[in-house]
C-alpha cells in the first residue's frame, strides 16, 4: 500500500512500511534533515514537526497515520526564503542554539505564536517542556519569543 504525504505543501508518495516513524521518511527519503531522531521517545523534541498545525514528535508518528495530513517541517516555515516571526526574533536576540534541538524549538514556538498571542513567560516555558536543550539556552529563547509576540 502506498502512502500519500503532504510535506511543506508538496504532495508526495512513499512506499515505506506503514509503521515507519515519520522522522525517518522525512530525513532519509525527502532529505529534510531539520527534524532530528534523537531520543526516539517523544521527550526531547528534536524531531518536532507540525501535523495539521499541531506540534508532533515525528519519531512517534507512524507514516500510515500521517497519510493525508498536512505536514510542516522547519524547512517549510519560511516563505520565499524569508524567516518567520519567531525565527527573526530568535536571530535578533542571539538566541540561536546549535542545530540539534533548535529546529524542534522553532516548530513548537511557531505553533505557540499562532495559537497563544497572549502567552506569558510561564506559558512559553510550559510550551517548551517538550523541547530539551542541552546547551541550556532557554532564557534567551524565552526572551526572543516574548519579542516575537510583541512584534505584530
Amino acid at each position: 500500500m502506498g502512502l500519500s504525504l503532504t510535506v511543506n505543501g508538496d504532495r508526495l508518495a512513499s512506499a515505506a512500511d506503514p509503521t515507519t516513524p515519520l522522522v525517518d521518511i522525512l530525513r532519509e527519503e525527502l532529505h529534510l534533515t531539520g527534524a532530528k531522531p534523537v531520543c526516539r521517545e517523544g521527550f526531547c523534541g528534536a524531531c518536532m514537526v507540525l501535523i495539521d498545525g499541531k506540534p508532533t514528535p515525528s519519531c512517534l508518528m507512524p507514516a500510515a497515520l500521517a497519510d493525508g495530513c498536512e505536514i510542516h517541517t522547519v524547512e517549510g516555515l519560511t516563505t520565499h526564503g524569508q524567516l518567520n516571526r519567531i525565527q527573526s526574533a530568535l536571530e535578533a536576540s542571539d538566541a540561536v542554539q546549535c542545530g540539534m534541538c533548535f529546529p524542534g524549538m522553532v516548530v513548537s514556538l511557531t505553533h505557540l505564536l499562532t495559537t497563544r498571542p497572549d502567552a506569558t513567560r510561564e506559558d512559553i516555558r510550559a510550551a517548551l517542556t517538550g523541547n530539551i536543550c542541552r546547551c541550556t539556552g532557554y532564557e534567551r529563547i524565552v526572551d526572543a519569543t516574548l519579542l516575537a509576540l510583541a512584534t505584530k
Binding site: D17, P18, T19, P21, G42, P57, G130
Partner: protein, 297 residues
C-alpha cells in the same frame, strides 16, 4: 517525488518489515479487524507506547488497528450523573473538557501534567489503561480514586466493570477486546493528583498519589479513595489509609503521619529512574501534598 527506496528505521533489528496499519472508520470495523487478527493484532491509539517498542527491544505486532478516527471513541460526554470518556480521548482533550469541573480536578491534573504538551496531544486515556507494562500511567490512579468503570467491547458485545477488576484481568484479556469507554460517577468531593517526577516535566513520575474525599460540614472525612501509582507495577488503592482517615478532619500533616505508619505495606519496584525503597519513602510526603491540594491550601 519520493522514490520509495527502503527506509532504515533504527533500531532495525526489532522492526517488522511488514507491519500493517488499518485505520478503522467505525467501532464495528475496528472490532472485526481486531477479532480477525487475534494475537497478531493490537489496537493503536496515540501510539506513544507502541512506537517505542523497538527501544524496549519488543517487536512490533504484525497488524495494528488505528482507532483515532472513530468518532464515539474520541468524545467526552458530561452528564448530570456521570462523565463518559471515549478511550481515544487524548490527555490534552480530557484536561480541557474537565477544566470547569472541580470534582474532577484529580483527573484533569493527571491528564494535564503528564509528559509534555506534544505527547499529551497524542497519548490517550485508553492507552494509559490498556498498556500492561506502563506502571507510571497518571490517569490510572486518578481514575481509581474516582471509582471509574471501564467498558470493554468485543465482536460479541460490551461489558462494563470496575477499574480495579479491569486491572486484575488486563493481563489475560482475550485478543479482539478493546477498551471503548471510561465512565466516572459525579459527586461532590475534594480531589488532588500529586506526582513526583525527577524533573518538573518530561520524566515519568517516581510515585503518584491520587486522592478523593467527601467531607461533612465540620470538615470530617465521610468517604475517601486514595490510589498510588508508579510505586508498584500496577496502580492500586491504599485502603488502610482510606479507612484511617474516615471520621477525622482532613489535614495534611495528620494524613502524612498516618501514611508514614502504613507505608510499609507497599513493595516498591526498582527502575532506572528510582530504586524501590525511594518510591515508598516519598509516599507520606505526597499524601501530605495531596491532602493540602485537595483542601485548597
Amino acid at each position: 517525488m519520493i522514490t520509495g527506496f527502503p527506509v532504515q528505521a533504527a533500531p532495525a533489528e526489532t522492526r517488522n518489515a511488514t507491519s500493517s496499519v488499518y485505520i478503522a472508520p467505525t467501532l464495528e470495523a475496528a472490532l472485526d479487524a481486531l477479532s480477525e487478527y487475534g494475537a497478531a493484532g493490537s489496537a493503536f491509539a496515540g501510539g506513544t507506547w507502541i512506537m517505542r517498542s523497538p527501544i524496549r527491544h519488543e517487536p512490533l505486532r504484525a497488524h495494528y488497528v488505528a482507532i483515532g478516527k472513530i468518532a464515539e471513541l474520541g468524545a467526552v460526554r458530561i452528564g448530570s450523573d456521570v462523565v463518559e470518556i471515549g478511550s481515544a480521548v487524548t490527555h490534552a482533550t480530557l484536561a480541557a473538557a474537565l477544566a470547569d469541573l472541580p470534582e474532577f480536578g484529580v483527573l484533569a491534573a493527571a491528564a494535564a501534567r503528564s509528559a509534555n504538551p506534544a505527547i499529551r496531544a497524542m497519548a490517550t486515556i485508553g492507552g494509559n489503561l490498556a498498556t500492561l507494562d506502563f506502571a507510571a500511567a497518571d490517569c490510572v490512579p486518578a481514575l481509581l480514586c474516582l471509582d471509574a468503570e471501564i467498558e470493554v467491547a468485543g465482536r460479541d458485545g460490551r461489558e462494563r466493570m470496575k477499574l480495579e477488576h479491569f486491572l486484575e484481568i488486563r493481563p489475560t484479556l482475550a485478543p479482539g477486546r478493546l477498551v471503548t469507554q471510561i465512565v466516572v460517577p459525579r459527586s461532590e468531593r475534594k480531589t488532588a493528583h500529586v506526582r513526583l517526577p525527577l524533573r518538573k516535566a518530561g520524566d515519568y513520575p517516581v510515585a503518584i498519589v491520587s486522592l478523593s474525599a467527601s467531607v461533612d460540614a465540620a470538615g470530617r472525612v465521610r468517604a475517601a479513595r486514595i490510589a498510588v501509582g508508579s510505586v508498584e507495577p500496577v496502580a492500586r488503592r491504599w485502603e488502610r489509609l482510606e479507612a484511617a482517615l474516615i471520621g477525622r478532619r482532613l489535614d495534611a500533616e495528620g494524613a502524612a503521619r498516618t501514611a508514614t505508619e502504613l507505608a510499609n505495606e507497599f513493595v516498591g519496584r526498582d527502575g532506572v529512574d528510582a530504586p524501590a525503597w525511594y518510591r515508598v519513602s516519598v509516599l507520606p510526603g505526597l499524601v501530605r501534598r495531596a491532602a493540602a491540594a485537595a483542601l485548597g491550601a
